[in-house]
Amino acid sequence: MRAYLPDYDLRAPRTLGDALELLAREAGVWRAFAGGTDLMVLLEFGALKHRNFLSIRHLPELGGIEFTPEHVALGALTTYTQIQRDETMRREFPLLCAAARETGGIAIQNRGTLGGNIVNASPAADSPPALLVYDAELEFVSASGARRLAYRDFHIGYKQMDMRADELLRRILLPRTTGDLKTYYRKVGTRKAQAISKVCFAAGARLAGDGRIEEARIGLGSVAPTVLRCTRTEEALRDRAPDEATIEAACAILREEIAPIDDMRSTAQYRARVAANLLADFLVKLKP
């Protein structure tokens, strides 16, 4: 049932400082509201639990893309469209651009934000597998200061995050050390466009001169309570040639490493099979 609008408070704090002050003073009362592409859906179904929201879309400190020699820093408000339009992003972070391109339709990509995709904490979100592969780092800001956290440590359980109620996600930092990775991104859903994923797979590999895998990085969505960096599978690939025996062994480990479930979108069995097939496809394409 549609929500009763006067039950909800949505405010636009004048400055970031005002927003942080309110979040600190009334901790847990206020929630950040950015592009609205997740929250407005819940509102429409009367399923929005929180009542008090701070619109942060207009705060310049939370937007923009900055470049240093070490990092590309994406403001939390960066939209999927802005990610795809940025030339440096396309050149150095193709997995994130691919994820942005496959998130919803154009109208969603124009409005939805990377920060929202992270903080909404859906295990089926499209950008997190790519962020995991790129070793993204999160920068939070609050009235008491700023802190950084490796993105892979952010999700601690289903919809549980290492984030305080008085904090806002400010930037997502991507180390500029992955331009040489051979990358692979594939989102599998009911239809090609606009569907929530059954399995979302992002990976990158660095190959030695003799074709062995020096380093593999594998991020998966929709196969566990949180998005998952598959470190055991990566370990099994280190210093191996991507031959048939390696692929078979890696797929077996991947199946142990993930924990998919049956739900309205797919089954555990299908997800496990597809995840392994995508890993095999990624590895086959690494062959010279």
């Binding site: 609008l5 592009g35 859906v41 619109s55 154009i106 969603i108 409005r111």
Partner: protein, 164 residues
């Protein structure tokens, strides 16, 4: 839908006309357009950002108006289907192409389709078939089977002067 006690003032421009609205902050832009401003060309399909029937432009960007709380359009320029043609006598080239190609049947998806097509042609003046499919992927049609809509987009971009 937009009744209630705690209202805010929002100033924005809709189809070139400055508007001052007194509305609940969380009201959907879709409802404000249709019910407060009487602009019923913008349709409600799914109400959850899947179907694109409620598409409008905010500051030149295509968005789903069902997912935008009206508070966030303060000082924004909004364009709806009512604002795309130069006047009653002259249709937008995309609208004209939809008519000529039979790109509309029941009409519910049509305003959103036209706006999505205009957005596509602004960013990609010479789209491939794949570009057209990608550009319209967020807009669902249950009548046409899409082929006549794709034809309309192809015809529109074959003509000069595509401008939103």
């Amino acid at each position: 839908m937009t009744e209630g006690t705690s209202r805010i003032d929002v100033a924005c421009t809709v189809n070139g006309t400055a508007r001052r609205l007194r509305v609940p902050a969380m009201a959907r832009l879709l409802d404000v357009l249709r019910e407060d401003l009487g602009l019923t060309g913008t349709k409600e399909g799914c109400g959850e950002g899947e179907c694109g029937a409620c598409s409008v432009f905010i500051d030149g960007e295509l968005v789903n108006s069902c997912l935008v709380p009206v508070l966030q359009v303060e000082r924004a320029e909004i364009k709806t289907i009512e604002g795309v043609s130069a006047g009653d006598a002259e249709l937008h080239v995309v609208q004209q192409a939809f008519i000529e190609c039979g790109g509309a049947q029941c009409g519910i998806c049509t305003p959103g389709m036209v706006l999505a097509a205009i957005s596509l042609l602004e960013h990609t003046p010479q789209p491939t078939d794949a570009d057209i499919r990608h550009g319209l992927a967020g807009n669902l049609c249950r009548c046409t089977g899409y082929m006549k809509i794709f034809d309309a987009v192809v015809r529109a971009c074959a003509r000069a002067g595509v401008k939103a």
